[in-house]
Amino acid sequence: MSAEAQTSVAAATHAAGDAALAGVRWALARDLKLAFRSRAELGVQLLFYVIVVTLFPLATTPERNLLATMGPGVLWVAALLASLLSLPRLFATDHADGTLEQIALSPYPLEALVSGKIAAHWLTTGLPVVLLAPLLGQQYYMDGESLTVLAAGLLIGTPILSLLGAIGAALTLGLRGGGGLLALLILPLYVPVLIFGAGAVDATRAGLGATANLSLLGAGLALAVVGAPFAAAAAVRIALD
């Protein structure tokens, strides 16, 4: 390849990268602004998470050891439910007001725009769940090390929930009763995240160390970051056709 051709290929790759970045930035900035303007809705989701986590000690037992065993699982299941509660709105509002058509017709790559929307979803719904977890874990008499591992697991795992959830949200676009279908579609996919996330805390308590579980979560995250935006973008195009 001649030097000129190489430069032009490099320039084209550079331009494509710029467009992708601009797309991610547009979607992220806009969705964060929208989320901030309707922050009451986010508060409702977070409160739901807090209440679900709080119900279990009230309904079961005040016994320390039992609660400490149950805690990680309960916090993880509540995180899944909280994520599921907010997912239907990820694309549905844009679909209903026609913005999704403009997004799909934008010169920015649709995958980049979808990635930006997913990032905004995680920042507004996943990150607060991660930050609240150590506090809520206190109700379950979890020790410091367990709480750290729980928060680390949620930090790696909740982005996977947003990424996989986006595929389900895009696939159920425009369906009546899409929310229920979304849960059926996505909850089975969440199972590995749940197993490794809650398993990391169990392993720490058993003295085995959380590295293996957290590494597997990390691998899952890497896979989801690369694959999910493409799958979700393809589903959006199908929904518009």
Binding site: W26, R30, Q102, L105, P107, L110
Partner: protein, 209 residues
């Protein structure tokens, strides 16, 4: 130049149209009319690259274009039935976001001027929630001006606009054609264009081949 050859559309098992073809050159407009349910919106969505024709081919400047292809995404400005506005954002923010999404860059002054030209500058800081249907349409008109695309696809653009708004739209389309642009509009109201520049396509009757 926008061309269509042998286009066919189906909704479920029902055939909306088939064997449709036309050629619109730079500076011309195609006005699509026909009774409800004959496929006007379907045709416009195909031309915008939002849905695939059941049969046939669409070409832009001689090259076949597929739905969601990069060639189309860089030339089309599509204004459908839905206003694409966010209730939580102000008039100004909505317009700026849509223009940026279309890949165009517009300075604050240009956005001001565009809002001025659609008579919305006194509503710039109001959330879109409180705007009337006609005012929402006008934001869409301002977007058309600022996105600077050669191919405008307008689905019932006069809906909800008052007389002044309809005149403004007609003037915009006229200027757009003068600049060498192409407009495809599904409308039953006249856009006031010179007959020489307008091709008309009537759906639901014998379709011109």
């Amino acid at each position: 130049m926008l061309e269509a050859q042998n286009l066919a559309a189906r909704r479920g098992y029902a055939e909306l149209f088939s064997g449709m073809g036309f050629r619109v050159k730079s500076g011309d407009a195609l006005v699509v009319t026909g009774p409800n349910g004959t496929g006007k919106t379907t045709l416009l969505r195909m031309l915008a690259g939002l849905s695939a024709p059941a049969e046939g081919e669409i070409r832009w400047n001689g090259h076949p274009v597929r739905p969601f292809s990069a060639e189309l995404r860089n030339v089309v400005a599509y204004a459908g039935h839905l206003p694409s506005l966010k209730d939580e954002l102000t008039t100004e923010e909505n317009l700026a976001a849509l223009v940026e999404l279309s890949g165009a860059s517009a300075s604050a002054a240009e956005i001001d001027r565009a809002l001025d030209s659609v008579a919305l500058s006194h509503r710039r800081a109001l959330p879109a929630r409180v705007l009337s249907a006609g005012q929402r349409r006008r934001i869409g008109l301002a977007r058309l001006i600022l996105s600077r695309r050669p191919l405008w696809i307008l689905d019932e653009p006069v809906t909800a606009l008052d007389a002044a708004g309809a005149a403004l739209l007609a003037r915009m389309v006229h200027d757009h054609l003068d600049r060498g642009g192409i407009a495809v509009a599904a409308t039953h109201q006249s856009l006031g264009l010179e007959p020489a520049r307008v091709q008309s396509l009537v759906l639901g009757e014998t379709v011109p081949a």
